[in-house]
């Protein structure tokens, strides 16, 4: 089983908070990897929010290929952040870890966001494909105000290795996953959290319905719906599909992945539309066991469970800072002074939604709204 540690805050904070929370939950992960996604970047990135950040890992050769490609497309490098890595036993260092901020090519600079997003996505996919075979280029994200780091190893050691404890790197939302490697070979593209066009998720658990979901998403012909090195990547794409492609409000994500029974739907005010959804998105229904934590482009965070098996998950905090964790001990490490009686353990019908800047926590219930 993996462990998840997400924090959303009105203030910038260090991703080390997530890593320390993961450390408290260490019994639940085996240190086979960690993924971090930072959204709402602070520090040196604060002034660069409008520019896309390319996050990834390259070999020496891969870096040359990457530079050549980016130059050819017309992206101009504005700023490079590289972690100040330290030698840590057990972690094999790769050549280049980076988060590079680029300026858009001239012809795209004034284009609407949608067109820019498509350019970023295509660029990310092209870079991925250029370096996939020899693993010379591994790209996690290419999007404004998003930074992703992933590596094999124990989360705390990785934090030390990447120098995050001494870094000024900060963000308002950080998703971190401590990985438990089970049935898949260690591949950084299989490492959570996953990200596509402003939407990010990480998941705890195994997705029993992976194959039909993957086939359905792959058949949408939507650029970026590829990969699926992990059975959890589909959760991110379902979120993007539901909210961006179909334009549904966020809480319908819960209806899509864990649809109600028809007689339960019939008791809802939106029964007719919800019935249509249930039918049309039938292949996206999950069967768990899964706890999904994610964010949307506006900075809303959420936690949701499957309908039967459930994975550990709890949300708690104070106004201005909330944590979404696999375990209570993780929550204690991030927001020790909170009122624990207000902690939320989402159950089969619930979706916990935290508004941007951790303003408030809402629990949306499938049956009662």
């Amino acid at each position: 089983m993996c462990r998840l540690a997400a924090i959303t805050s009105g203030e910038y904070f260090s991703p080390m908070e997530n890593i320390i929370a993961l450390e408290t939950m260490k019994e639940g992960h085996d240190g086979s990897g960690m993924g971090l996604i930072l959204k709402g970047l602070g520090g040196e990135f604060e002034e660069l929010k409008d520019y896309p950040v390319l996050s990834g890992i390259c070999s020496e050769d891969g870096m040359k290929t990457l530079d050549g490609y980016m130059n050819r497309i017309g992206f101009r490098l504005k700023y490079t952040w590289t972690p100040k890595t330290r030698t840590v036993r057990g972690i094999e260092s790769r050549d280049h870890y980076f988060a590079r901020v680029y300026d858009y090519p001239d012809m795209h600079r004034d284009k609407p966001l949608e067109e820019k997003e498509m350019l970023l996505l295509k660029t990310r996919l092209a870079l991925r494909s250029l370096g996939e075979e020899d693993e010379s280029i591994i790209i996690f994200a290419f999007y404004p105000d998003i930074l992703a780091l992933k590596e094999v190893g124990d989360p705390l050691q990785l934090g030390e290795f990447l120098g995050l404890d001494r870094s000024s790197l900060k963000a308002k939302i950080v998703l971190a996953q401590g990985r438990q490697n089970t049935n898949y070979a260690i591949n950084l593209y299989a490492c959570h959290p996953f990200f596509i066009k402003g939407y990010g998720t990480m998941t705890n658990g195994e997705n029993t319905a992976f194959i039909p979901i993957r086939e359905f998403l792959s058949g949408r012909n939507i650029p970026g719906y590829i990969g699926y090195n992990s059975d959890s990547e589909v959760f991110c794409h379902i979120l993007h599909y539901t909210c961006r492609q179909l334009g549904y409000p966020l809480h319908y994500y819960k209806d899509v992945i864990t649809p109600l029974k028809q007689d339960e739907i019939d008791a809802r005010p939106d029964r007719e539309a919800a019935s249509y959804l249930k039918r049309s998105l039938r292949p996206l229904c999950i069967d768990g066991p899964n706890c999904v934590i994610g964010f949307t482009p506006d900075g809303t965070c959420f936690m949701v469970q499957d309908a039967k098996k459930l994975r550990p998950g709890v949300v708690g905090g104070v106004k201005g800072k909330f944590a979404l964790m696999s375990e209570e001990c993780g929550l204690d490490s991030v927001v020790p002074g909170r009122d624990k009686t207000t902690d939320v353990f989402p159950m089969k019908f619930d979706m916990v939604i935290i508004k941007p800047d951790a303003e408030e926590v809402l629990v949306w219930n499938q049956l009662h709204g």
Binding site: P212, N221, T258, Y276, R279, A307, K309
Partner: protein, 553 residues
């Protein structure tokens, strides 16, 4: 000297040439005559023979040859009265004195064409080997990383959809106050969709079936719907339905079928204004797995009063349905028009779908239907499907197995991203070896949304004798010894419709539990695992490769 009897029996058959040899035991038989009376083929008959016996009655052995006249039960060697192995004789014998025994060395197929008439029969393909479906195993077991569900404790939703499902992008919904609502001004046609149990009773007509059998099935599914809350539906087969049923509220559990003979449709059309409920769906039959490219046939001796009334035809005439719909000249136009006409008849409130036989060209049909926004599903009937009457050559040598046919159709839909839009109904040999739940679940995982059964339910609910050793299989002759496929009241009175209904309910309740027993350890419960191909494996690499599933050994 002249011999007592001539020995030139060259143009006669020996019992050894027959598929079943009747083993009759003189010592057990009390000559009650039940076996000979009940034999549907008159394959056995009472006979008198002269027997030579040695007798010795004194204290010393003094054997004397005596001749005595005794009655026996004799198997005929007239091929028109061959023993079908149905074993009704065994069933009625009070002393276990008679039993037909399968003769694997028979030469039946060499001789069963007297008068130049090829062998015709009912039943299904005479191939007793396990089908592909029976060679698939469910090998993705959830444990530890994904806890298995509890078939007895957890809630399962074993349901499917019948009807064209719009892709989410085309749904007429809009967001109002953070909530989705249906936009009626969009003018989008949302096709009717039924939520049904994923195993349906396939098309068997009143006519092919006896009135009692059909009634039993109908009562069974009605009970399942009304009392057990299981929305099992049943297709009428070609030949109409009783007016009383058409005009009742129970019609919603039935799928009237229209086939190339259009039998019964005058009566159905007349009933439309009087219907108080819509039928579940309409099936247009273009083909049948057991006899691909062949039309239906109800023999004259089955067309009695009830049938003639329901079908709107005179009594006592053969009712052949042509191999193809006479108005059908292309799938793009005529089939589309037929589908639309049927929609129109019920105000676009009833799903209409075609049924074809399994074929290499199924994908072409499928792709035409994909582009027809009214096609509600595609039913594909594989070559292990049964029939009431067909040429043996059609049944044994023609057709396409359902497993790979359904799989390639599903993968074709998936490649287009339309696997949820056009449900595939799989039929033909589902439950051939009695493993209904396992066969059905395998077909779901290969891509079927629903399966259809015929022969299985006749065997399970009414004790149909037929099997793949050509046992019985006289459905075409109206001589069904069980009273299932006959219009002869003397035969169908043997069947108790209430018992049939009871068995239908038992079958569906038990298959429901078995499906849960399959899905629970695989971790699936909320939706049918349609296309969950990582759940199954084959014991043959070639099968695994063809079906794009795992090979396990």
């Amino acid at each position: 000297m002249e011999p007592a009897a001539r020995l030139d029996n060259n143009h006669e058959l020996a019992v050894k040439d027959f598929p079943y040899i009747v083993r009759w035991r003189d010592d057990r038989c009390k000559r009650c005559g039940r076996c000979t009376a009940v034999c549907p083929m008159y394959a056995i008959e009472p006979a008198v023979i002269v027997q030579r016996a040695l007798k010795s009655e004194g204290t010393m052995p003094e054997p004397q040859a005596v001749r005595r006249v005794i009655t026996i039960v004799k198997q005929t060697t007239d091929i028109s009265r061959y023993c079908t192995g149905c074993a009704t004789c065994t069933l009625v014998c009070p002393n276990e004195a008679i039993e037909p025994e399968y003769n694997p060395a028979h030469k039946f197929n060499f001789h069963k064409n007297r008068g130049g008439h090829p062998y015709r029969r009912g039943g299904r393909r005479n191939d007793p080997a396990p089908s592909t479906l029976d060679r698939l195993r469910f090998s993705r077991i959830s444990m530890l990383t994904d806890p298995a569900l509890d078939a007895g404790r957890h809630e399962f939703r074993i349901r499917t959809y019948l009807g064209r499902i719009l892709p989410a992008e085309e749904l007429p919904v809009r967001v109002v106050n953070n909530r989705l609502e249906v936009n009626r001004k969009a003018g989008t046609f949302v096709p009717p969709v039924r939520e049904i149990y994923p195993i349906m009773i396939g098309s068997m007509s009143i006519g092919a079936l006896s009135p009692y059998m059909w009634e039993g099935l109908a009562m069974g599914i009605t009970y399942l719907n009304e009392v057990e809350g299981m929305p099992v539906v049943m297709c009428s087969g070609e030949g109409g339905m009783p007016q009383r049923l058409l005009r009742s509220r129970f019609i919603k559990y039935f799928i009237p079928q229209i086939a190339s003979g259009y039998f019964g449709w005058d009566e159905i059309v007349r009933a439309i204004p009087h219907m108080i409920e819509d039928p579940c769906a309409i099936e247009i039959k273009y083909g049948q797995g057991a006899k691909p490219g062949d039309g239906g046939l109800l023999m004259a001796h089955k067309v009695l009063k009830l049938i003639s009334e329901i079908r709107g035809v005179p009594m006592g005439v053969d009712l052949p349905s042509p191999p193809t719909h006479q108005t059908k000249y292309s799938i793009e136009e005529a089939v589309a028009k037929m589908i639309q006409s049927m929609y129109m008849a019920w105000g676009f409130r009833v799903p209409v779908y075609p049924k074809i036989s399994g074929t290499h060209t199924a994908k072409a049909v499928l792709n035409n239907l994909v582009r027809n926004p009214y096609a509600a599903a595609l039913s594909i009937d594989g070559d292990d499907g049964g029939t009431g009457a067909a040429y043996n050559v059609s049944m044994d040598s023609m057709g396409h197995p359902i497993a790979s046919n359904i799989r390639e159709c599903y993968l074709d839909l998936a490649a287009q991203g339309k696997q949820n839009e056009l449900p595939l109904i799989a039929a033909g040999g589902v439950g051939k070896k009695g493993n209904l739940a396992a066969n059905a679940a395998a077909l779901f995982m290969l891509g079927a949304s629903c399966v259809s059964i015929g022969k299985y339910i006749m065997q399970a609910a009414a004790g149909c004798f037929g099997d793949e050793y050509n046992r019985c299989n006289v459905c075409n002759l109206g001589k069904c010894p069980r009273g299932i496929t006959t219009q002869d009241p003397r035969l169908y009175r043997r069947l108790d419709p209430d018992r049939v209904a009871e068995r239908v309910v038992e079958v569906f309740k038990s298959v429901d539990t078995e499906l849960k027993k399959i899905f629970a350890p695989m971790g699936r419960s909320t939706e049918l695992p349609i296309g969950m191909s990582d759940g199954i494996s084959a014991d043959d690499p070639a099968v695994a490769e063809r079906l794009k599933i795992k090979y396990n050994c």
